[in-house]
């Protein structure tokens, strides 16, 4: 019983343990998501000075429309990456669902089905097609205990093949007016296109799901300590299937918006999008080792990539150099994140 008083005296030693972390790392961690927001503002200022046309309506519409598919994919990717997984197939799922839905709509139009039925079945096909790719990923990963990287690399290739098989690798342009109007409709005197509004709504809704619901908490828990999550009674496999299904479903939604935006479905849609989605998530501060990341961070990451792309175009940087610049931005962001992560866990 002689121990009873000593621990209380020792308590301050406990509290000061956090101070052994280098000041720079603590500084980096405290800044958190804000540093990426700072980078975004800095980019806007720099490009705005170099090319004042950045602040025109045309530049805004081009940037925001460009960002729609990346933001939606990146939201799903954020969930996946927080579970310490990865979804390389979401761009392929985007292309597949767009083509599958367009194919259904083309058939319905040619057989003179009503517009309403055509639109409903077409959109449903896109969402279900994306969902199925996601479910397939989730089931392969959890049932066969395969690494997410390998499974989604495989489905990336296989699904791309299916996309080309759907219409012999050619695009589909026979679409109902509703779909093509969806791509051009907007509110706020044309400042806010409907696809951008939808993408923002997706980000806000899933941001709350991740940050404020049981599903979100368990998503973090699985990525942080899968064994611990199982021991806490969480059905980890079922949860992971749902996370990959969300990623696939959102790819289907992105497929719809891309099809609407271009007034056509092409098998090339979504090609390499997964890289931008993953890059957005990484820039946004998520750890590829799981347990960390926010939708707000991902939103900033998507915005940085989009502003960078528009800015480099407006400042007449050659397209190949744009790719180089974006690649280095991703690496720099993850390098900075590593410093922050180390600050967090001893």
């Amino acid at each position: 019983m002689s121990v009873s008083d000593e621990p209380r005296e020792a308590a301050p030693a406990d509290a000061t343990q956090g101070d052994s972390i280098p000041a720079f790392q603590r500084f980096m961690e405290r800044i958190g998501d804000l540093w990426t927001l700072g980078v975004l503002i800095l980019l806007i200022v720099i490009f705005g000075i170099a090319a004042p046309s950045l602040f025109t309506k045309a530049a805004w519409l081009s940037t925001s429309s460009y960002a729609v598919e990346y933001l939606i994919l990146a939201v799903g990717q954020t969930f996946v990456i927080i579970t310490a997984g990865i979804d390389l197939s979401d761009g392929a799922a985007l292309g597949f669902s767009g083509m599958a839905g367009a194919l259904v709509m083309e058939h319905l139009i040619n057989s003179h089905a009503s517009d309403t039925l055509t639109v409903i079945l077409g959109i449903a096909t896109m969402l279900v097609a994306g969902l199925l790719v996601g479910l397939g990923n989730g089931l392969l990963i959890t049932r066969l205990k395969l690494p997410p990287f390998i499974v989604t690399l495989g489905t990336l290739t296989a699904v791309t093949g299916f996309t080309n098989l759907l219409n012999h690798g050619t695009e589909i342009t026979t679409l109902p007016n509703f779909i093509t109007n969806l791509g051009t409709a907007s509110i706020l005197s044309g400042w806010l296109p409907i696809p951008v509004l939808i993408a923002l709504a997706v980000a806000v809704i899933f941001g709350f799901v991740l940050a404020r619901t049981r599903f979100g908490l368990r998503t973090y828990a699985i990525g942080s300590n899968e064994v611990g999550a199982r021991r806490a009674g969480i059905r980890v496999d079922r949860h992971l299937v749902m996370v990959y299904a969300i990623s696939g479903l959102l790819a289907g939604l992105a497929g719809l918006l891309v099809t609407a935006n271009f007034s056509s479905a092409t098998p090339l849609a979504g090609n390499n999008d997964e890289l931008y989605a993953i890059a957005s998530v990484a820039i946004g501060g998520a750890s590829i080792f799981g347990g960390r990341g926010t939708i707000f961070g991902t939103f900033i990451g998507t915005a940085i990539l989009s502003v960078l792309t528009t800015g480099l175009v407006l400042t007449n940087v050659a397209p190949f150099w744009q790719q180089v610049a974006i690649g280095f931005v991703v690496i720099a962001a993850v390098a900075i994140d590593r410093v922050r992560t180390r600050a967090g866990t001893d």
């Binding site: 049981r214 368990r218 828990a221 611990g228 009674g233 001893d346």
Partner: protein, 272 residues
């Protein structure tokens, strides 16, 4: 066969043990890990389980925790025979195992860890969508951890930022908050410094004072000797001694662990 019958504890509730194992045997092929083990844990009692590496401590704990099936023998909870297929079954029966670090998610807040798997949601339709009642969980966490008497910076702090002793407190606090009647602690102080070890010792005593049975598996003999009401010694799969620290010397325990006392069992047997 062990001829040492566990004596009823002086402390804790008399009568039916919270957990009892009878004639428990575990074989791996021709290797016998446990041989006819009998053990009783009473409410409010801290029982130390010591023994050399390979003596069978982990096997015994894993069986009681539901992580391993016994080859033969019975586990009883409150006098009723039970069969655990998974650790979840054991938890439902009120038995919680606290591992050094394993069960906590370092990226989650303290309250997130405390309530993981049994989260509180708000009332109404938002609750059905899984909207968390963060305020309720934070308040409850603060109350539960107050009972463990270990200081925590804030219930919103990430567990990854906590010291080893604080993490142990969160893990134990969670077990207690989950309504566990029996807490199995597997080497809770192995990775801790001296100050932290003392804190965990105090924590174990606090838990036992809440009428919870604690089984403490540890190599830290001075600590076992200091805080346990009884010490069980496993030697080559058998419980060879059931000792009261108040009645024996710490060197006697060492003797039983190393087996030198086993040869002289009869001389010491009546002490147990």
């Amino acid at each position: 066969m062990s001829n040492i019958e566990p004596a009823p504890a002086e402390r804790g509730a008399p009568g039916t043990p919270r957990v009892e194992v009878r004639d428990l045997t575990k074989r791996y092929g021709s290797v016998v890990a446990l041989r006819g083990v009998n053990m009783e844990l009473y409410s409010g009692e801290i029982v130390g389980l010591v023994g050399d590496n390979g003596a069978g401590k982990s096997t015994l704990v894993n069986i009681v925790a539901g992580a391993l099936p016994p080859t033969s023998g019975t586990v009883l909870v409150d006098g009723q025979p039970v069969t655990f297929r998974t650790p979840i079954d054991a938890r439902r029966a009120g038995i919680e195992t606290v591992y050094q670090d394993l069960a906590l998610a370092p990226d989650l807040s303290i309250w997130g860890n405390m309530f993981l798997g049994r989260e509180k949601v708000v009332a109404g339709p938002m609750g059905r969508l899984g909207w968390l009642d963060r305020k309720e969980m934070m308040e409850r966490t603060a109350e539960d951890l107050d009972r463990t008497k270990i200081r925590i910076p804030s219930v919103a702090a990430r567990v990854g930022r906590l010291s080893g002793g604080q993490r142990q407190a969160v893990a134990v606090g969670r077990a207690v908050a989950w309504g566990s009647q029996v807490v199995l602690m597997d080497e809770p102080t192995a990775a801790l410094g001296v100050e932290q070890q003392a804190k965990v010792a105090e924590l174990i005593q606090t838990v036992a004072a809440e009428n919870i049975a604690v089984l403490l598996i540890s190599h830290n003999l001075p600590q076992v000797y200091e805080i346990c009401h009884r010490v069980l010694v496993l030697f080559r799969g058998e419980i060879v001694a059931n000792l009261r620290p108040s009645e024996v010397d710490i060197d006697d325990i060492v003797g039983w662990i190393t087996g030198s006392a086993v040869a002289a069992r009869r001389l010491h047997g009546d002490q147990a």
